[in-house]
Symmetry: C3
């Protein structure tokens, strides 16, 4: 059984934490996407607020710096009228020798309602959720905002939301995930979601050094030639080249990478004419993707960002109601 | 007369600033603890907010980094519906050559209502309060969130709240304060509070190098043998070993410290069977305290954190009403 | 035509962005000052909040650190009931290789309503406004909170507000701007505002090395002798000595500077008896200004800070309504 899946749902099948898309039932994923629908239009209102989390304390626990992800959760929580407290933990309590779980216990004692957790180590959010369960704090919820190489489930969900928004039916899609799959928690989360929702054709495209061994076991096909990999697909998901995450020299150069795996108009022409282009951001223009494609008609990259707020509002609302 | 006491109360005896527990009348301390009572249950409500400080601007002025303390004040202020502005001053105005009091004058000119001040130098909060008084800004309030070795009055108050919660009557208690008393502003504040409230038996336990000279003048007894010091006491307050505050080598090693002054189940057995165990946090497990004791049935360490929010809400509400 | 002026107003002459005072019509400046009047008294109310920007998302984008300026905008936005998100961009996305405009596109996709932008490079706010216009995001507004040496229009406006508050009529004033004019964006913004509002006598006073070449073309007179420059003036605006902005040794020493250009009671006696003394802060006491003058009866330095909140509230309200 997948790590985390046992903790995420309560006995009645309600979402208590969001830790991973691995093992999360298709019905739950669909329910999150459905819940996000009405939130997607709140951003266009004059008053972009609903009182669903009023008086709740949401803690952004970022053990790893990520202004971008933190901001999306902060906006989502504020639109739900929650009180948001940002904690960059790297420099504080842990440096005073307090353990992660002591920090959590303290924040629970301050009547925290929800933790949004970003951590460099895989399994950190899961560890916190296990600890809360063991301590009987079933009213406190954990949302994984990225843990090491393991997963980034809200990113996976917003990708799924975007694909559904443009393609409606998952049942006949070909989706290509391109680039540094090895270091990408985004890719892992997305692939789990796609296969769970029944996408029949998921393709991983990248150089041998950046495709994980045995990735086929996740139900995907592997391509090292990009043209062949993109052939006839409906969705192209470009991944960020995780320069800062790579140790040693797995790649000759970013120019060399772009030549083989950067998405250009020419390469994109191999996909279906109505294929959409996605990227989790931040983009390295000219490395993973040509600027004209990033800003082109098939790009839905900025819509992903908009939908990301709605999806995070949906997840927060659902766990708070559990 | 104790520093600060003259500034803390107005002519009618109302609390205007909270600078130190030294010299604060027993009636005022009791009034703070009484005011905190109803706030202690707000944290358990669905909507954890009351509108007592709505539209007030509370500035967290942290000249010294302390995420933990800042967070407790931020939560307290947000639960009171105040607008909270966090300023980490270390890196900003002061580096541009502005003096502390110029910074204060500027924030007052921005219509600040309250300053929560953390500073490495003893007397900083007192200096600010004196300056405000001299400038006629009697509507602006100062709460000391820790100043050098001097004091940490809200921590002292939450300790008193916790003791009262579990032991009801201060008049017959034996309280032991254990460890690095020399560097602990927590210890100073607590001892003042305990003696003011009439605790007849306050004991300080620690190695000679970590017990201040002439501490007996505060009305406490000194013990260097922990077993004897804990004998029959009702409350055991363990202090954090202030590693980062120590200059030079006053201690042989943390292992050596634990052997003599770390709280183990064996040592705790010398206290009364219903003795409570307290610690201001963050804990160094295995240095000041054994994990099984920290997490044991007699430990009220996490309740201290919960009560700390309520006490801070009480202090903020009282000074704002003065 | 002045850079930025074409973008600031829409076809109906309403303020859409505030980028520079250069080229901003006198009627618009007067309208901002008039709008600020009622906000100046909100700070004295019990509940310092109005719901004008409720549910709006204001992003403080500080690519350059400035706690002081950020705080004034944060307070202004919170008093208008906006949701404020602070982003210190230096350390985040840009370090991940994202461009400034990609960051902006992402935040717009998160349904940002307003950007308050501080940047070390001149023209940054203007670049963002141009980009938003090109992308058709006419509902998103930009306020320049300081860009390189170019301008700091809200500071200029609060200076104008202060002068009008004390002197009522701009039409007969002599205003002296003293010190490091070369590096001061404050000076540039103020001089544009003063000449636009018809101040007949604007004087720039400073050593040759700190007065820009051809500054006379802005409609000011230049003085290197301070006594003569201050003679009979109504308003003395002292500038901060931008130590951190100077490259190389343009000045002999701060002591030498004070001797010639520091504002002392003696030098101030050359101005009119009811002349007011201003400074944008933070002050270097004993460098630009003697403490007794900074704190003296003619000083309106702290009133500038108070009015600054009101002016920022006015600008935010006006652009949000456009």
């Amino acid at each position: 059984m997948a790590a985390g899946s046992g903790l995420q749902l309560d006995r009645d099948g309600r979402l208590v934490h969001l830790l991973t898309l691995e093992g999360l039932p298709a019905a739950t994923i669909r329910s999150i996407l459905d819940t996000a629908e009405p939130f997607a239009s709140i951003g266009e209102r004059e008053v972009k607020k609903v009182p669903l989390l009023r008086g709740k304390a949401v803690f952004n626990l970022f053990f790893e710096n990520s202004t971008r992800t933190r901001t999306t959760f902060e906006i989502a929580a504020k639109r739900l009228s929650a009180d948001v407290i940002n904690l960059n933990i790297g420099a504080s309590s842990t440096s005073k020798g307090e353990t992660l779980l002591d920090t959590i216990d303290n924040l629970v004692a301050m009547n925290a309602d929800m933790f949004v957790v970003r951590h460099a180590q895989s399994g950190a959010a899961h560890l916190i959720a296990s600890h809360l369960a063991a301590a009987g704090h079933s009213h406190v919820h954990v949302i994984n905002a990225g843990d090491g190489r393991h997963g980034h489930p809200t990113q996976g969900l917003l990708d799924l939301y975007t694909i559904r928004h443009y393609k409606r039916d998952f049942g006949a899609l070909a989706v290509a995930v391109v680039g540094d799959v090895l270091h990408s928690r985004v890719a892992r989360s997305l692939i789990h979601g796609l296969t769970t929702l029944g996408v029949p054709d998921v393709r991983v495209i990248g150089p041998k050094t950046l495709v994980p061994a045995r990735v086929e076991s996740l139900g995907v096909s592997v391509h090292h030639d990009m043209d062949r990999g993109l052939d006839g697909c409906d969705v192209v998901v470009m991944l960020r080249l995780q320069n800062e995450r790579m140790k040693g020299a797995l790649l000759p150069s970013s120019g060399e990478f772009f030549k083989h795996y950067g998405l250009t108009a020419d390469k994109l022409a191999r996909a279906k004419p109505d294929a959409i282009v996605m990227h989790p951001g931040p983009m390295n223009r000219g490395v993973e993707i040509e600027s004209s494609v990033a800003d082109g008609l098939q790009s839905v990259i900025l819509k992903q960002v908009t939908f990301g707020i709605a999806v995070r509002m949906a997840v927060m609302t659902m766990v708070a109601a559990a």
